[in-house]
């Protein structure tokens, strides 16, 4: 395992595929959301239209260097996380750049984009951006508690931190998936997934009602386009991580996309059913319920792992 130039081409290919998957899932999800709310909703390809519109628009306004770089950080973060995760088990080329690090790298690289984005939004000078970031960071760090515990749990169970080896340990049928071998940990992880996706009930960060659209308030046109690009890749990357850790990973693209869709739907279903938490409620919720659950899960996992 190491770097070969050809891997860049494969990486671009995987990005292309997953970008389209992301766009389509977004469209479909919004459609579902509308139907649940008894509305007709958008066309499923509407995200493509929005994206092209944003890229084409020219408003040529910037608040400064950091403001300009914010979306760059954001997309770099999204792409980075995606590329550090091995996508298809057994395929060296569709493991992308996973040779640079293991699950810990992914876990911490998630913050790269958020931090950069938050900084860019900060320079925009809009108070709503700052409020959004304050809420967003607070909630993300709280939600990460569950994620971190879940990842450590998997690490304990399989005695490794390498994602590839975690997936390898789950091969050979559904009975070997973490979902089956360690259900408690998976429950915890699925709660963490809700937090990571930023959907209701944990979507106060972008809260459309109280605050225009949270951190990206001042971003528009091309900037927004880049963020939308990220929004179709980053959640997919995180979903793939969960698929890899808890649902046996995937040995080919079809299985992968199917699993992505199913896991992603979990957050959608919860999102359309549950109302939004206020941010202090959500932080407390993570500390009060997810943390104890996580501790129990860790203890159980220790017993399982022997």
């Amino acid at each position: 395992m190491g770097f070969e130039p050809i891997k860049i081409l494969y990486a671009l290919g995987t990005i292309f595929i997953i970008f389209n998957v992301g766009m389509l899932i977004q469209g479909i999800v919004r459609k579902i959301g509308a139907r649940v709310g008894k509305r007709y909703g958008i066309r499923f390809y509407q995200p493509y239209i929005d994206l092209i519109k944003n890229y084409v628009m020219r408003s040529n306004v910037t608040h400064g260097v950091m403001f300009y770089l914010g979306p760059v950080f954001r997309l770099t973060g999204g792409l980075g996380v995606f590329l550090f995760i091995p996508i298809i088990y057994g395929s060296q080329y569709f493991s992308n750049f996973a040779f640079a690090g293991d699950v810990v790298l992914v876990l911490y690289f998630i913050f790269f984009g958020s931090l950069g984005m938050a900084l860019g939004a900060g320079e925009g000078g809009h108070p709503y951006s700052a409020i959004g970031v304050s809420r967003g960071l607070a909630q993300v760090t709280a939600a990460e508690i569950a994620l971190v515990i879940a990842v450590i749990g998997v690490g304990i169970q399989y005695d490794t931190l390498s994602i590839t080896e975690m997936v390898a340990a789950q091969q050979g049928g559904i009975a070997n998936w973490t979902m089956v071998t360690n259900p408690l940990l998976t429950i915890l992880a699925m709660l963490a997934f809700l937090g990571a996706m930023g959907r209701s009930p944990f979507d106060v960060v972008l809260a459309p009602q109280e605050i225009p659209i949270g951190p990206p308030t001042e971003y528009h046109s091309t900037f927004l386009g880049i963020m939308q690009t990220n929004r179709s890749i980053f959640p997919m990357a995180k979903t793939i991580l969960f698929v890899n850790l808890f649902f046996g990973g995937a040995t080919n693209w079809i299985v992968l996309i199917l699993k992505i869709f199913i896991v992603y739907m979990w957050s959608v279903v919860v999102g359309v059913v549950f109302p939004r938490f206020r941010v202090d409620h959500s932080i407390r919720w993570w500390y009060k319920y997810a943390l104890p659950l996580g501790i129990i899960a860790i203890i159980v996992t220790t017993l399982i792992a022997g």
Partner: protein, 1047 residues
């Protein structure tokens, strides 16, 4: 050679003739008076020299008879030493009182001569009854001098003094006569030979009364109200003689009668001394009057000396053995010089309240003297008291007297509280008045200042055969040199310190091995680097350089220490230097105090630990013996651990840190946080390396430390997010980061230690960077509150970049170096199996994101304030080290193998399982892998591509004005209203509720309250009524008697 009898002849003769000479004019009388004092000092000095060279002691007997038929005066080595001290004190005190003698009646001078003569007599006489006579001469002379001053306080104090003295000498007389009855002699030495204390109840009682009478003269608690009043009210020049001279003579009397005492009585004396030491220092906590405070301190010190002497003699050391002389002698000299100096200073200041002594700041030399005396009293190096206390603790430990050590250290700690509080007030309180110091007053103070400095150096050579402290001599000389050139401008001194520091680094680093190299680089190379910002200061920066260098000398000393004495001395030097650095900040007085108290407390705990080590390991002071302790290992490690944790500000012991770091000067904070905090880490590393090899028994210290580290990470980081003050935010962040270091060490595995060292190195880099950058910002905008800043990225772009790099490295986000620490943490936690602690540590790390963002956002982003529109970039001297640090972070991030590889090899000596394997730039553990270089390249590559794409699409973007934002159809008018900075994480506080409460601070405040209110309660026994004081003496004697025969 002049016979010692001339001391008496001169004093008596001149004394009687002085009023005659006065007829010829005051100048004549005064010349003769000072001539007499000088002659007395000369005689004893001459004897001292001769006896030091091995001459025979001179014994003078009256009328040619031999004892017991005559009174004998002895001039041996000790007598010569004591009379020399007393006579020089007499001469200097005479000079100090010169203006008074000049203007008052001649009686003052006569009485003064009588007083000095009486003290000489007390020292030299070998006869029990003669001693009584001299006692009364001294007493009458003293009280008569007091009476010259015609103010109410002085007179009423004098009356209480004479009554109490009268009762004490009455008891002395009764005891003397009974002892004469039992032995038939009055010569003390002969009496000691023939007397068997245990022979009968009556003999015992007589000896007891004799001892107690002498002890009452030494002002034991609680029978000492009269002395306190005298210390408070009597003229400074006179009280200096009482506090130092009379105490010296009385201590010598105690020394002389001690052969009469049996073990029971020695124990009683020791107990009284200890109670006096502890309670005096406790009661002094509530004291606001400077001279009375000094009185409490004097009484306490005397108590300590009695305890030390009595216990050592009881333990079987010869009365004049080297150990006894080193300990009690060192303590005594320390007290003698410092207390006289301080009382003299009280006459210069002429102010009662402690904080009014800040007028000393008008005179740097007197201020220096004050600081030296106070520090000497606390018992810090390089002064005699330090070495004496060290030797005392070691010797006591050798005898297994741990209970006594504990109480002595407690008393010393109480003393440190009020003395350092005073020092802080003097250094920081408002300057209100002028200082009028006469040359006659300054001269004696300076002589004693010099004497105490020389005394410290001399004792440092005596102790432990004089070899062990040689490593510190040259550096300390450099510090002294820096004091001398302190009048030079900053630029010269800074350059000098950087050059010498670089050279010293070059000398020291190759001598180090193992993990010490790593810390050597941080301490010394880092230290030199952080002197660069010093160039931004104009003027002289009085006192900064010697003390800053003292801190670094201490740090370097820790690394090269081979025995506990070297280590402890270095530790204290470091503490002392850093205290003075911290207190330079504008509002840092209370914080410097709390830093000092925690440090001193920690140091005393460490001293206790070293003492037990000395006892257990057969009088070995070698640090290497830490690893093979045969018994009591758990308690030794725990004590040392607590000491190191204090410096590392672990939770529970951390409350000093935020204020100390936060209020320090711009270039001091990085030194403290980046470098000084690693001293605790070094100690702990050393300790853990020892624990690795030692048999700990049932105590699982690392496990406890692991939890402590984890909780420290969490609480430190959590409290950081609530700070409004940028530097305090960084300070709390340091608490958290030191928690990681502790946690890593506690893991006791190769991976854990690697984690710890990675964190240490990283913390050094990014915290120095952040503190420098923020320091530069604060320097420009003149506020530390983040919500008062904002939008500074446009004014200080370079500082912004520094902070950006700093927070990324801090938070552990790849691709920067912080990630290495996070990755190692996961691996180490999995390896060790400390999952729960690991989870807490990692959650703490997540919380760090919150304050990182707040720091950079509230300061640099958001809305620029109107008053900051003219602000410039930070001074270039701040930026230069920042650039170097950024370079180092980038290097470390890209090529971690170059640093962590060698570190791993260093650790192999202690923890051989090489947990991290490097293949070129790839790091492998049994769990996972990571490649810093590739991460950097990939991230950089993606970033550049995305940026180019954006730039291609949006290349014509124009900057808009500050308020050109979408704001609910309104245009905001004021940046203050638009910048969200205050109480940024209010929701987090609300969500976590009680977890965010400052329980630890409350706990320590309650502790302080308990001590102070009990002091306030107990000291009410000193009602001020002379009669109560008599009652105290009587009750004291009775109670002590029953305690003695009962116990």
């Amino acid at each position: 050679m002049v016979s010692p009898i001339y001391i008496f002849i001169i004093a008596l003769g001149i004394g009687f003739l002085l009023s005659l000479f006065d007829k010829a004019g005051r100048a004549v009388a005064m010349t003769i008076f000072y001539g007499a004092l000088l002659a007395m000092a000369f005689i004893s000095g001459q004897w001292l020299l001769h006896l030091l060279q091995g001459a025979e002691a001179e014994i003078i007997t009256t009328a040619g008879f031999q004892p017991p038929f005559s009174i004998n005066l002895k001039m041996g080595l000790l007598e010569a030493f004591f009379t020399f001290l007393i006579n020089t004190l007499g001469f200097l005190a005479g000079i100090y009182l010169l203006p008074k003698f000049k203007s008052q009646k001649i009686y003052g001078m006569i009485l003064f001569l009588m007083l000095i003569m009486g003290l000489n007599g007390l020292v030299m006489t070998g006869d029990m009854f003669n001693l009584f006579v001299f006692l009364e001469i001294t007493s009458i002379a003293t009280v008569s001098i007091i009476a010259i001053e015609k103010n109410l306080k002085s007179i009423s104090a004098g009356f209480k003094y004479v009554i109490a003295g009268g009762i004490a000498s009455a008891f002395y007389l009764i005891a003397t006569i009974f002892l004469y009855r039992f032995t038939g002699v009055l010569n003390i030495a002969m009496m000691a030979e023939t007397l068997n204390v245990a022979s009968s109840q009556a003999v015992f009682l007589s000896v007891f009364i004799l001892m107690i009478a002498v002890i009452v003269e030494l002002k034991p608690f609680p029978a000492n109200g009269w002395a306190l009043d005298a210390y408070e009210a009597v003229d400074s020049g006179v009280v200096a003689v009482i506090a130092s001279g009379t105490s010296a003579a009385m201590l010598f009397v105690f020394y002389k009668i001690s052969p009469l005492l049996n073990n029971t009585l020695l124990l009683t004396a020791a107990g009284i001394g200890l109670a006096t030491f502890t309670f005096s220092n406790l009661l002094a906590l509530k004291q606001k009057n400077a001279k009375r405070l000094l009185g409490y301190s004097s009484i306490g010190q005397i108590g300590l000396i009695i305890t030390a002497y009595a216990l050592l003699v009881r333990a079987g050391y010869a009365r004049n053995s080297e150990i006894v002389m080193l300990t009690t002698g060192g303590l005594f000299i320390n007290h003698f010089l410092a207390k006289a100096g301080l009382f003299w200073l009280s006459g210069v200041v002429e102010k009662e309240k402690l904080e009014e002594w800040s007028t000393l700041r008008n005179n740097p030399i007197l201020l220096f003297a004050f600081a030296v005396f106070v520090i000497a009293l606390v018992g810090l190096p390089p002064f005699p008291g330090f070495f004496a206390k060290w030797q005392l603790v070691m010797t006591f430990a050798n005898q297994g007297l741990f209970f006594w050590i504990g109480l002595i250290l407690l008393g010393s700690f109480l003393e440190a509280i009020y003395l350092f509080r005073w020092l802080g007030k003097v250094l920081k309180s408002d300057l209100k008045a002028e200082l009028k110091a006469k040359i006659s007053q300054i001269f004696p103070i300076l002589i004693y200042l010099l004497a105490i400095l020389i005394g410290g150096g001399y004792l440092s050579r005596l102790i432990n055969q004089g070899t062990s402290l040689s490593i510190l001599y040259l550096p300390v000389l450099f510090i002294v040199f820096l004091f001398f050139i302190d009048f030079l401008p900053v630029a010269i001194k800074n350059t000098l310190v950087i050059l010498v520091g670089s050279y010293y680094t070059y000398l020291i680093i190759p001598q180090l091995s193992g993990y010490r190299v790593m810390l050597g680089v941080i301490f010394l190379a880092g230290g030199v680097l952080l002197f660069i910002p010093g160039y931004f200061k104009r003027g002289k920066r009085t006192g900064f350089y010697p003390l800053a260098v003292m801190m670094y000398v201490g740090l370097a000393g820790l690394l090269i220490s081979e025995n506990t004495l070297q280590f402890f001395t270095s530790w204290e030097l470091m503490t002392l230097g850093s205290y003075f650095l911290i207190i330079r900040g504008k509002k840092s007085e209370p914080h410097a105090l709390s830093y000092m108290l925690f440090s001193i407390g920690g140091a005393f705990v460490m001293l206790f630990g070293f003492g037990i080590l000395y006892y257990v390991n057969g009088n070995s002071m070698a640090l290497s013996s830490l690893g093979n302790i045969e018994s009591m290992a758990g308690i030794i490690y725990a004590l040392l651990g607590i000491a190191f944790l204090t410096k590392m500000a672990s939770i529970g012991l951390h409350i000093w840190l935020p204020g100390a770091y936060g209020e320090a000067e711009a270039d001091v904070s990085p030194m403290l946080s980046a470098i000084l905090s690693k001293a605790g880490m070094f100690g702990l590393l050393m300790l853990m390396a020892a624990i690795q090899t030692a048999n700990l028994g049932s105590i699982n210290l690392p496990y406890v430390l692991g939890w402590l580290g984890a909780i420290t990470v969490f609480i430190g980081n959590l409290l950081a997010i609530y700070q409004e003050d940028a530097k305090r935010l960084l300070a709390y962040s340091s608490v958290g980061n030191l928690g990681y270091i502790l946690f890593g060490l506690a893991l006791m595995s190769h991976m854990g230690w690697l984690t710890s060292i990675t964190y240490a190195l990283n913390h050094f880099l990014f915290k120095a960077l952040l503190f420098l950058a923020i320091g530069g910002v604060v320097y420009r905008v003149k506020t530390k509150n983040m919500y008062e800043m904002g939008g500074l990225i446009k004014k200080m772009p370079l500082s912004f970049v520094s902070v950006l790099i700093g927070i990324i490295a801090l938070s552990g986000v790849p691709p920067l170096s912080g990630f290495a620490g996070k990755w190692l943490t996961y691996n180490a936690v999995l390896e060790k199996g400390w999952y729960l602690q690991g989870v807490i540590v990692i959650i703490g790390g997540l919380i760090a994101f919150l304050y990182c963002f707040r720091l950079i956002y509230a300061v640099f982003l958001g809305q620029l304030k109107d008053k900051h529109r003219q602000v410039k970039e930070a001074p270039v001297w701040f930026l230069i080290p920042q650039v170097i640090l950024i370079g180092a972070i980038m290097l470390f991030s890209t090529y971690p193998a170059f640093i962590l590889g060698p570190v791993g090899k260093m650790l192999n000596d202690i923890l051989p399982e090489n947990a991290l394997i490097w293949e070129n730039l790839d790091a492998y553990s049994i769990y996972g892998h990571w490649n810093g270089f590739l991460i950097m390249m990939i991230t950089g590559g993606i970033f550049v591509i995305v940026f180019l794409w954006l730039y291609f699409l949006n290349r014509k973007a124009q900057k808009v004005k500050q308020f050109n934002i979408v704001y609910a159809a309104e245009r905001p008018s004021r940046p203050e209203l638009t910048h969200v900075g205050y109480n940024f994480f209010a929701h987090y506080k609300k969500a976590l509720g009680s977890l965010s409460q400052p329980y630890v601070t409350k706990f320590w405040n309650t502790m302080a309250d308990i001590f102070h209110s009990s002091a306030g309660f107990i000291r009410r026994i000193y009602t001020g009524d002379g009669q109560t004081y008599i009652l105290h003496i009587i009750i004291f004697i009775v109670v002590v008697y029953f305690l003695t025969i009962g116990g």
